[in-house]
Amino acid sequence: MSDNYLNINNLSFEYPDGHEALKNINLNLSNGERLGVLGPNGAGKTTLILHLNGILGELKGNIQLNQVSYTEDNISKIRKSVGLVFQDPDDQLFMPTVLEDVMFGPKNFGFSEEQVEANSMKALEQVRMLEFIDKPPHHLSFGQKRKIAIASVLASEPELLVLDEPSSNLDPASRRELIDILKNLKVSIILVTHDLPMALEICNRSIILNNGQITADADTYKILKDSKVMEENRLELPFGFALHHLEE
């Protein structure tokens, strides 16, 4: 397990309207690690993950993925390695059928035709959605669309999977299914979420992002247990959820 799989050094970002979304972010991630990104609304979480895919343009600071820098020449390689699952699956699924949507990524990244087909079927199997291959995505339920969105990213064999609020709008059963799927994936994961029990279940380590800065970086359990840190960062465990019975 390499300690320096993802290195973010002094990353700052300002939107054109002057809003400073990220302020001097420093973060390291090991290969295979699962990291939770917690924080209140408007903290800069989505901005941070868009940077991981090189979507927001020129960087102020430095990001390296597996010692490859985020430069114009490397961006296609970076995007292949970092699979980004967006918050609203309707933003991600735009092809006429589920299978074509899942095949979209690997086709663009230059996989051979056989590999595109094989990867897509494997990804759909991983999210347990094989029987939906010929359905148009907009006919599916929200939970099904979310799983297809994950498959559409897995098909490109990413090394790092980045998910933006994957449990939002899901019913409890779909949420449980999603957690099981994510726990079984053999890739590094960055999980942006307000669902603190989910972060605890999936990620050993979490950071809190507040007002564009990392205000905590520790074991997820420790963060959730620290009521002072939680309160300062506008975080709260769900009513009735108790940490004391969980092992540290």
Partner: protein, 254 residues
């Protein structure tokens, strides 16, 4: 976020027209429509042959007559327009007859007949095409016909997001009504205008997010649909060639 599927026109059946290649179907229908548009209508036989071609296709499509009639209602504005022509289109001024002191012009009557026959036949073809071809197949057909990839992408996105947009419009209307809004009178247009503006901005922002999700999966400018299998489509091609031949003959005769 359940969707409405309100715009789906295709009807599942085992018709020959459902199974053939969409690109051949599109091009054949295009040529049949073109040959009908160029009919002079001065020769009854050629007109009847073209009508028989269209009605045979309607029969082959296995479309229920009631459904056909319902969809044909799209023809009504054209019919209304055509019905005015005998009174207003003077041409060379030749009067056919008078009705309550209102002149009915020969040119107008000819134009009315022409519009009624041609529009009805062409709309019937459009109804058959949309009933036997899914949205995806139309996009696939256009791609096979080498229509500009940009246009194909635009059509594809329009089809994909129309449901999402209709659902958003419905939700906004429900939320407006739940706060006592009713669409009555001129004054109620203002909130409607604001709501439309909000929907427009949301649409624009969604466009940006969709584009981000595309480039994050390596999008380089072209959308490619996977290959699909269809039955041989020679018969429809022959029908369209026959239709062109009939119109060419019609042109020579007149």
């Amino acid at each position: 976020m359940e969707t409405s599927h309100s715009h789906h026109l295709e009807i599942h059946s085992n018709s020959y027209l459902v199974k053939i290649k969409p690109e051949i179907k599109l091009i054949s229908f295009f040529f049949i429509i073109l040959s009908i548009a160029f009919l002079s209508l001065e020769n009854n036989l050629t007109t009847i042959i073209q009508a028989v071609i269209v009605l045979s296709l309607l029969k082959v499509s296995k479309l229920k007559f009631n459904t056909y009639l319902k969809r044909l209602s799209i023809d009504i504005p054209f019919i209304l327009f055509a019905l005015f022509l005998p009174f207003v289109s003077k041409g060379n001024g030749e009067i056919l007859t008078s009705l309550f002191n209102i002149s009915i012009y020969k040119t107008g009557v000819n134009e009315m007949t022409s519009i009624l026959i041609k529009i009805t036949l062409c709309v019937t073809l459009a109804i058959i095409l949309t009933a036997t071809t899914s949205n995806i197949e139309i996009i696939y057909g256009l791609q096979k016909l080498k229509v500009s990839p940009l246009l194909v992408s635009i059509f594809s996105f329009a089809i994909r997001y129309i449901d999402v947009f209709i659902d958003e419009v419905k939700r906004v209307r429900v939320s407006m009504r739940s706060r006592g809004y009713s669409e009555k009178g001129f004054r109620t247009l203002k909130p409607l205008a604001f709501a439309s503006g909000a929907l427009l901005i949301r649409g624009y922002e969604r466009g940006e997010r969709v584009y981000n999700s595309m480039i994050s999966r390596g999008f380089k400018g072209t959308l490619e649909l996977k290959e699909r299998e269809f039955k041989s489509s020679k018969l429809i091609l022959l029908v369209s060639i026959f239709s062109i031949a009939v119109s060419t003959l019609d042109w020579f005769i007149t």
